[in-house]
């Protein structure tokens, strides 16, 4: 089953490779991994999307907790939570496609953030399914490139991951 694991980790060089190395060494899946410093610059927050049986997810959280630089680990997908991912997609926009892409972007509440006479860059935020749906709605022949940030997640309401 798919799980979203959030963790706080010391913002030190090599910390990311300790996490990614753990996943590869023990054969765990990583669907996506995002990391950036928090409001406290000495600490980073990482969101890892992974999948596995309950036993494997239990081992993943235990093994992550065992890393000396990891401060806290939460499986935010265990309860109500929000996920968002950012996508930038560059599409060919000429002739009648120009209008069609614009219309589709509007329907998805995406924004066009770069325009040339032959292309648009569309920015879209949402959960993975929404981003997938947008990609599906665009004629594949028009897509020049896509870049996705990977999932960021946060628990709803009182569920706070903080030191």
């Amino acid at each position: 089953m798919r799980h979203v694991i959030s963790l706080l980790i010391e913002n030190e060089s090599g910390a990311l490779s300790r996490v990614s190395g753990l996943f590869s060494a023990r054969g765990y899946n990583i669907e996506s991994l995002t990391v950036a410093p928090t409001e406290d610059a000495s600490m980073s927050r990482m969101t890892i999307v992974t999948s596995g049986s309950d036993e494997i997810i239990e081992q993943i959280t235990k093994q992550l907790n065992k890393l000396v630089e990891v401060v806290k680990v939460v499986d935010i997908s265990e309860a109500a939570h929000i996920e968002r991912e950012l996508m930038l997609i560059k599409v060919r926009a000429t002739g009648k496609d120009r209008e069609e892409v614009k219309r589709t972007a509007d329907i998805f509440r995406a924004r066009i953030i770069d325009v040339t006479d032959a292309s648009y860059v569309v920015e879209l935020t949402g959960n993975q399914a929404k981003l997938d749906a947008f990609v599906g709605a665009i004629d594949p022949a028009l897509i020049l490139e896509t870049v996705r940030s990977g999932v960021c997640g946060v628990g709803r309401g009182d569920r706070v991951l903080k030191l």
């Binding site: 980790i9 010391e10 090599g14 490779s17 081992q59 065992k66 000396v68 630089e69 990891v70």
Partner: protein, 570 residues
């Protein structure tokens, strides 16, 4: 006080009361060696290969409960150390390894003797550091020692670029350390311990199974008290031998692949299993699916939460320091009036004695040819069971574990997790330095000993009176055994040809070498080694039966009850 980085490193080691550093100099650590030279508190042991430096520090740590320290140079110094580090990591041994690194400005430039030591060692250390500022040396080394010995112990590496060892700053050794990301649990959960004690008292067929965690936590005394208080059977894994006195009636021997019939049957058919500082390793429980077929409640005490419910599902997990948890169990038992049901226990013991009656460790001795088991048995007799015994990896390791009966912890040093051939001699060096007045014997084979035989030179330099018992069967014995049983007796590359004359080899290093060919000479040779040549290293080269196999045996992938007890079962 303003000191250079190199001086700070050595001062830190002094502050940590380090007796011995095992190491090998090189370009990147020249300033560290210069600082070592100018003091006398920390003594340096010059090995002949960096792998042995780490193993020797490891042997020192295993035999003392202290942190072992190794010092190596950059590049090949560090890569040679990796096997030693991984060996310690697999058995949770507290070590601090200091490695030199090329100067900060040269890092990433493919400099001479540059390697990404932190990257290479990352998967086999508890933690590692690259020091980038001389002002961080003292706090980093303090952290390294703290991390190495607390929680689940393990090796910690500190990589120090050469320019950092010349840079200067004010030195002050931190008194305490606190890390927000590292707070190992020490006290077990009271409610869980209560539940465990309740479950133990209600058991009809109880079993206590303990591993290296009992030795590491210095909890042998607690284990013995608890086991005797309950009157339950107990088994110690390969890593846990000495955790409970082997001569005691409640002790069933070692479990697992080459464990006793009674220990394995009791593990399998018990209804409540108390696992302490053990991790249900594949060499201990065999096939986990087969193990799970028999219903039983499992209580698991371990300092490392990730060891719990990893290979088998546990009913009562208790995360905490083994010593503290066992103390609390004893306290609760003694405070309460409830005692185990004597009738159930008597029935259970009757069954166990029946299993024990199979006498699975019996072997056919011979007047013609030396049986390896016989050598270990005689060694045990001659040393009164009081030696520190190290081993390498293979058949001789199993025979040592089976036939040398350990009464105390920290007397049996071997590579259980990684299974590293070549550890025996350097382990013995570390142990002998730490215990100059104790007999140290290295039970090895002609293949393993050659993996670090260069250390005979170190032993001469430091006058280490180790007794090497080479069970020489001219084969990679365990490989040969598996080839015989599983590969149609096709002995692919397992014959050891062109062996040296070990007695002469030892003599050439300035030691005593004795070759023993006949069973009737075994005891005399051992006495000669331990009495006449008490203060010298003696290399005893026993020519043993080439065809002897280790029994009992649970084949890989089989269940604990599916044992081969002797050659007749094949």
């Amino acid at each position: 006080m303003v000191l250079t980085g190199a001086e700070i490193v050595i001062r830190c080691l002094q502050e940590e009361k380090v007796e011995y550093v095992f190491g090998y100099p090189g370009g990147a650590v020249l300033y560290l060696y210069d600082a070592l030279f100018q003091q006398e508190e920390v003594r340096h042991v010059l090995v002949r290969h960096e792998q042995a430096a780490v193993h020797a520090a490891d042997g020192y740590a295993r035999s003392t409960q202290k942190v072992g320290v190794a010092l190596v140079t950059s590049g090949p110094g560090a890569t040679n150390a990796v096997t030693g580090i991984a060996t310690a990591y697999c058995d949770s041994i507290p070590l601090v390894i200091i490695s030199g690194q090329v100067p900060t400005a040269a890092i990433g430039q493919d400099a001479f003797q540059e390697v990404d030591t932190v990257g290479i060692t990352r998967p086999c250390v508890k933690h590692n550091f690259l020091v980038r500022d001389v002002r961080d040396i003292a706090s980093t080394i303090k952290k390294a020692f703290y991390l190495a010995k607390t929680g689940r112990p393990g090796p910690v590496l500190v990589d120090i670029p050469k320019d950092i060892t010349i840079a200067k700053c004010d030195f002050e050794y931190p008194k305490e350390i606190s890390m927000r990301s590292y707070n190992p649990v020490v006290r077990g959960h009271q409610g869980q311990i209560k539940k465990a004690v309740q479950l133990l008292l209600e058991a009809k067929r109880p079993m206590i199974y303990t591993g290296g965690g009992v030795v590491l936590a210095d909890a042998a005394e607690q284990l013995t008290r608890l086991t005797r208080l309950l009157g339950y059977p107990v088994t110690n894994t390969l890593m846990g031998l000495g955790g409970y006195p082997a001569s005691d009636r409640q002790f069933l021997g070692m479990p697992g692949m080459h464990g006793t019939y009674e220990a394995n049957m009791s593990m399998h058919y018990c209804d409540v299993l108390l696992a302490v500082g053990a991790r249900f390793d594949d060499r201990v429980i065999g096939n986990p699916a087969h193990f799970a077929e028999e219903p039983r409640k499992i209580i698991h005490v371990d300092i490392d939460p990730s060891s719990i419910s990893k290979r088998v599902k546990v009913d009562v997990p208790i995360v905490g320091d083994v010593k503290e948890v066992l103390d609390e169990m004893i306290r609760q038992l003694e405070a309460g009036a409830a005692r185990p049901n004597a009738d159930h226990l008597a029935t259970w013991w009757k069954q166990i004695e029946e299993w024990r009656g199979r006498n699975c460790m019996a072997y056919k001795n011979s007047d013609e040819i030396i049986k390896p088991q016989f050598v270990v048995q005689k060694l045990w007799e001659v040393t009164g069971g009081n030696a520190i015994v190290t081993s390498d990896v293979g058949q001789h390791q199993m025979w040592a574990a089976q036939y040398y009966h350990f009464e105390q912890p920290r007397r049996w040093l071997n590579s259980g997790g990684l299974g590293t051939m070549g550890v025996g001699l350097p382990y013995a060096m570390g142990a002998q330095l730490a215990h100059p007045d104790t007999h140290v014997a290295c039970i090895t084979g002609e293949a393993s000993i050659q993996m670090n035989i260069q250390e005979l030179s170190t032993c001469k330099q430091f006058r280490l009176p180790i007794k090497i018992c080479n069970l020489n069967n001219r084969y990679l014995g365990m490989v040969r055994q598996w080839q015989q049983i599983f590969h149609g007796a096709r002995y692919s590359e397992s014959y050891m040809d062109s062996l040296p004359d070990f007695a002469k080899l030892a003599a050439s290093y300035g030691h005593v070498g004795i070759r023993v060919d006949r069973p009737c000479d075994v005891e005399d040779a051992l006495r000669e080694a331990f009495v006449k040549h008490k203060n010298e290293l003696v290399f005893l080269d026993f020519q043993v039966d080439q065809t002897e196999n280790v029994y009992p045996m649970v084949q890989g992938g089989k269940g604990l009850t599916e044992m081969i007890l002797s050659a007749e079962d094949l």
